[in-house]
């Protein structure tokens, strides 16, 4: 089925099944491979993207349910929060294997867009859907606090 979807500010035409999850449309049809597959059942957060600015697990969102909503992926995320988060990630050397980090970054950016100065509890709530098997959690938490401070200044 041919569909038009808006990804990272551009309308793209894709020919995929109605039930194809957004994740596989992004990765296989559009070549946007920064968004990762980790579980396929919305349990790990590796596939986190923004749908109309809100973080969502793309692995369980059928493309037919997207409608006209706009998708932002790690390739297209931008703005002050995104810059602050990515800079903090690099400064803290957060990533180990790196595979989950696109999803972590997207969830962290979404948090900072919502909450300017998140507490540890805010971070727990916003980030506990994102699994990191390398357990870089200590640095993820520290980097989010760093990014929040950088955005204040």
């Amino acid at each position: 089925m041919a569909l038009a979807i808006k990804v990272n500010g551009t309308i793209q035409s894709v020919d995929v099944d109605n039930d194809a999850p957004l994740l596989w449309v992004l990765r296989d049809a559009l070549g946007l491979a920064g968004t990762k597959f980790g579980c396929g059942v919305a349990q790990c957060g590796a596939c986190t993207v923004f749908v109309d600015g809100k973080p969502m697990r793309s692995c369980t969102l059928p493309i037919s349910a997207l409608g006209t909503r706009e998708v932002t992926t790690i390739e297209g995320v931008s703005g002050r929060e995104a810059e602050a988060v990515q800079q903090a990630w690099i400064a803290r050397d957060v990533p180990q294997c790196g595979y989950c980090q696109s999803g972590q970054v997207m969830s962290a950016v979404a948090l900072l867009k919502q909450v300017k100065k998140p507490s540890d509890r805010d971070i727990d709530l916003a980030m506990n859907g994102n699994v990191c098997r390398c357990a870089t959690y200590v640095r993820i938490r520290a980097a989010i606090h760093d990014a929040a401070r950088a955005l204040e200044g």
Binding site: V16, D17, D19, A20, P21, W24, R27, D28, A29, G31, A33, G34, T35, K36, F37, G38, C39, G40, V41, Q43, C44, A46, T73, I74, E75, Q86, W89, I90, D93, V94, P95, Q96, C97, G98, Y99, C100, Q101, S102, V105, I123, D124, L125, M127, N128, G129, N130, V131, C132, R133, C134, A135, T136, Y137, V138, R139, I140, R141
Partner: protein
């Protein structure tokens, strides 16, 4: 993998393969003649200066270090590049890292004799080799500058990628001399720096940043699953529901009807669905109707295996380590204490499930995936496709974690990748993808294990210790068996149990090796995943029974274990240890484990939560010899602790009549951010040879948490995971 001194015979590994013996530095002629010439040309990559198989320097001053170990988060890109850059006096901002190609002659792990990563050996086996590679390149650059400037080489200094001659005031960058350096003779034994003048090794001011953080923070780092090329088919394989089952028959008509499905083929491991894209492949697989022949399948449940193992543990096994006469002393002890510890099968569950890419035209094959044992995987692909090893190229990709899962002594993924390519025929590039369910239910687990411990006490001291271990062998039937399993003892089953750091006069550790049809594999820290728990829980229990402090009691028995004692003292100081508590509902547990020649002690602060123990904070001291990248060491301790807490609290793949019960992260629970303790790490200064940190952070955390639970009145859990024990 385990101990560093294992040197595999290449002959044993590569039966019949040409046995070239090539040193690190090859004269041009030998390079051309060797079967490795192709790899070397690739390594040179058209750079102006490629003094050896590990370094290329371009006219733009970029220093690229070829890394022989796979990078999946443990840090070899940064670590090995640091070693080279130190001796080269390179500018760190110009240093890059990429994976070396598969070539055993150039890139073998000096601890194994084959190309591969494991046993936390990357830094240890590369320390001298990479430094020499850097020093060689430096000497050749200096020689080129000396020739060009007409000055003696010894008067030239090098700093951050710039060569200088003070007398004439001349200076130049690496890139300017790259081409000329390539024409210089290769020095055979360039001098290495004295550690006192290291600029990069051990530097901890934040200036030696990891080389891969940016690409891993913006989604551009490329993993195997991200591979795509025109005409490529994505393949998923339906594996049997029980280990050892085979395809009896199958009906693929419904699968073939799924839009995007291109073909369906039987392969040795199951039924492969080929599709244009991952989603149709997964959908197609769901439509397969397969009848399995389960006549040879493993059908026992975990509970049944545990009962069998417990019965076995009542009888002495084959002796793995002994001194004195533990049995007699136990019989004469004032008091004996027994404990039985039961450990479940564990999945590794790396974030990127197993996957691989292969292009094959019938004559040559090119594979790309996160290979952790390149020599074996390379050979496996050649064997399946009926090619000679030199007709196969294997490129190592960044991998989304491993924790042991990609170090396959059977090369089962490489073989499956080649089989799916072979089944569809030449000229069709394939990308094989395992889903999370394939991963969690796919076997190759940390084995299920039982330890039966007995301790004898007299005059307030531990006088006798026995430990009977019951486990499947990881090495059995693998190419590693001949060198790592001796006298019927698989070293990976009893490492950390057959010798302990405590002075106990009468000691015995024995082993029963079981035969179960569940494929097993090393899992981050291998035998220490269970021996660390059994030994450190049991010694703590015996110390508690004799009224001794967990720290002071251990130290009193560590006369012959100075480095274990060193990290234990360091962690006690870091945590301001004043006893186990509890204080205000929080107790502290201690454990110290030497693994892979690194020494780690941890103290965990724990309270009783609604959903099992809550681990608030962990203090950690590590002695891994010369610390090459202190921040990477801290990161590995933090990560190892998180990985270990998750496994200790929740990790279990239970079998129900042979079928794995959990399937995904909803049923195979792993640690999440709100459960991660705070971590404080002290890296102990040392001038000993550097050792690894990828695994040694894991073993102490489970027993440290359990020992704290005991002080909270929750008991030391005898069956893992801990949350089950509390529930």
């Amino acid at each position: 993998m385990t101990t560093h001194d294992v040197a595999l015979s290449r002959r044993a590994m590569l039966k019949g393969a040409a046995g070239l013996v090539i040193g690190l530095y090859l004269p041009e002629k030998a390079r051309a003649q060797s079967g490795a010439a192709h790899a070397f040309r690739r390594a040179a990559g058209g750079a102006d200066f490629a003094p050896n198989a590990f370094i290329r320097i371009g006219a733009d001053d970029t220093v690229t270090v070829l890394i022989k170990h796979i990078e999946f988060g443990q840090g070899p890109f940064t670590g090995l590049a640091t070693l080279v850059a130190e001796e080269l006096d390179a500018d760190w901002s110009k240093v890059r890292a990429e994976h070396a190609p598969s070539n055993t002659d150039f890139y073998k792990n000096l601890a194994f004799g084959v190309q591969g990563t494991g046993g936390s050996t990357a830094i240890a086996n590369s320390y001298d080799q990479m430094r020499k590679a850097g020093a060689t390149a430096r000497a050749m650059l200096v020689a080129a500058a000396a020739q060009s400037w007409g000055v003696p080489a010894r008067e030239i200094t090098v700093e951050r990628g710039v060569l200088r001659h003070t007398g004439t005031g001349r200076e130049g960058r690496f890139g300017q001399f790259a081409e000329a350096a390539a024409r210089q003779p290769v020095p055979s034994d360039p001098p290495l720096k004295d550690p006192s003048v290291f600029r990069l090794i051990g530097r901890d001011d934040g200036s030696v940043k990891k080389l891969d953080s940016a690409a891993k923070s913006n989604g551009t780092a490329q993993f195997t699953i991200d591979m795509s090329e025109p005409g490529m088919l994505t393949v998923v394989v339906a594996h049997p529901p029980r280990f050892g089952a085979r395809v009896a028959s199958f009906d693929a008509s419904a699968a073939r009807a799924v839009q995007g499905v291109v073909d369906v083929k039987q392969v040795p491991t199951g039924v492969a669905v080929y599709a244009n894209g991952t989603w149709p492949a997964i959908k197609g697989r769901e439509q397969l109707r397969i009848s399995w022949d389960e006549s040879a399948a493993e059908k026992r449940s975990s509970d049944q295996l545990i009962e069998e193992y417990r019965a076995l543990a009542r009888r002495p096994g084959r002796i793995a380590g002994a001194h004195g006469d533990a049995i007699t002393t136990l019989a004469r002890a004032e008091r004996t204490i027994e404990a039985e510890y039961v450990f479940p099968y564990l999945a590794h569950a790396p974030m990127e499930p197993l996957d691989g890419f292969l292009r094959w035209d019938g004559q040559r094959a090119h594979a790309r995936f996160g290979s952790q044992l390149q020599t074996l995987d390379h050979q496996a692909i050649a064997t399946v496709l009926g090619l000679k090893p030199e007709q196969v190229e294997l490129e190592t990709m960044l991998a989304g974690g491993s924790f042991g899962r990609r170090a396959q002594q059977t090369s089962h993924l490489a073989a499956e990748l080649a089989e799916v390519a072979k089944a569809i025929g030449p000229g069709r590039p394939v990308k094989l993808v395992w889903t999370r369910e394939d991963d969690i239910r796919g076997g190759y687990y940390r084995p299920l294990i039982v330890h039966r411990m007995r301790g004898g006490l007299r005059d307030g001291k531990i006088v006798a210790w026995t430990d009977t271990v019951v486990s499947q062998s990881i090495l059995k039937g693998s190419p590693f068996e001949a060198v790592m399993a001796k006298g019927g003892i698989d070293a990976t089953s009893v490492e950390g149990a057959k010798e302990i750091p405590y002075d106990i006069a009468d000691f015995r550790c024995d082993l029963h090796t079981t035969d179960v049809g569940v494929p097993v594999l090393w899992w981050r820290s291998v035998g220490h995943t269970h021996t660390g728990y059994a030994v450190e829980c049991f010694v703590d229990e015996l110390l508690q029974a004799t009224g001794q402090d967990p720290v002071a009691g251990r130290l009193a028995m560590m006369g012959k274990a100075p480095r274990e004692a060193g990290v234990l003292r360091a962690v006690a100081e870091l945590a301001q240890w004043s006893g186990p508590g509890p204080v205000n509902g929080r107790a502290r547990g201690v454990a110290v484990v030497k693994s892979f020649d690194s020494y780690v002690a941890q103290i965990a602060e724990v309270s009783a939560g609604d959903d099992g123990p809550r681990v608030h904070k962990v203090w950690c001291a590590v002695d891994c010899g010369v610390p090459v990248n202190p921040d990477v060491i801290r990161a590995q301790m933090e990560g190892g602790i998180g990985f270990g807490v998750g496994a200790a609290l929740y990790g279990e793949v239970a079998l129900d009549e042979g079928r794995p019960v959990p399937a995904n992260f909803d049923t195979y629970r792993v640690l999440r951010i709100h459960e991660m303790p705070q971590v404080e790490v002290r890296v102990v200064n040392s001038t000993e040879k550097p050792t690894g940190v990828g695994e040694p952070g894991v073993p102490p955390i489970g027993p440290a948490v359990a020992n704290a639970m005991a002080r909270l009145g929750l008991g030391r859990p005898r069956r893992l995971p801990l949350v089950r024990a509390v529930a």
